[in-house]
């Protein structure tokens, strides 16, 4: 697979990640293109599916969502059907913002953002009700040191 994106594409992706509200004129200036040329690139990058949706970040803290917990889960069953059922089960819990099937001492890892310990307790109960899990352990974040960093398009 040859290089799919040139350095201007990568610059566009880099800047767009951080500053999604820039006008096309401002973005064009930053990456060294005319607005017209940039428009064509944006269209192509969206069609290619590498440029995805635009989102606004909101302050979890200001919303009172002050507790982040990484929940590690070990399960008894490992069939494809069970995995999909578990995914569907977890996807009904909006406090779970991320979920991975992992290797190592546990089978799954979930990132949970809630309103304090009482919020986590509710989420925990919802998670462990209606499906059989072997072990559930939570690692509580005491301090978020880095968050929501952009992907390194060059790395």
């Amino acid at each position: 697979m040859a290089e799919k994106f040139d350095h201007i594409d990568l610059r566009i992706l880099e800047v767009s990640q951080k500053h999604g509200a820039l006008s096309q004129r401002e973005l064009a200036d930053r990456v060294g293109l005319s607005q017209n040329a940039l428009w064509r690139r944006l269209k192509r990058l969206e069609e290619d599916g590498v440029l995805l949706g635009v989102h606004r970040r909101v302050s979890a803290k200001k919303l009172g969502l002050d507790l982040t917990v990484f929940v590690m889960v070990r399960t008894r069953t490992h069939s494809d059907e069970w995995i999909e059922a578990f995914r569907a089960h977890v996807s009904r819990i909006p406090q779970v913002v991320e979920m991975h099937r992992i290797g190592g001492d546990w089978d799954y890892m979930l990132k949970v953002v809630t309103r304090g310990m009482s919020g986590y307790d509710k989420t925990y109960k919802q998670l462990t009700t209606g499906i059989e899990l072997e072990t559930v352990t939570g690692f509580f974040s005491m301090e978020t040191m880095l968050e929501d960093r952009p992907l390194d398009v060059y790395g």
Copy 2:
């Protein structure tokens, strides 16, 4: 602290997270306001610091960033100065997209997104060079089952 945001505010935050490119007219229609009234709310929510920046999501997969690893770190030192030095050290590694100080069996947890195992090897070396860490263990994501979900503004 009384309710700081009414249900229309929460709707705005909810929709904006997912659809950050909606025009004010479209967003106003969705939350049941006039464009003018929405504009004032947006301004206030931004001033309050609950509505944060606009970002474009990019496809890690299409960029070849196909490996996600959760790195758990145990350290020898725990002073405030050392913690800040560690944060600065890690913040120089762009493949680390998230970093938490946690409680439990480890002291820190880092989320790393890289280009395959060779990319992870470089990140690992950069992480463990120039600073003393006791133990470093990686949990490799075999499958991302849920990702980048919006915060539940009601939960």
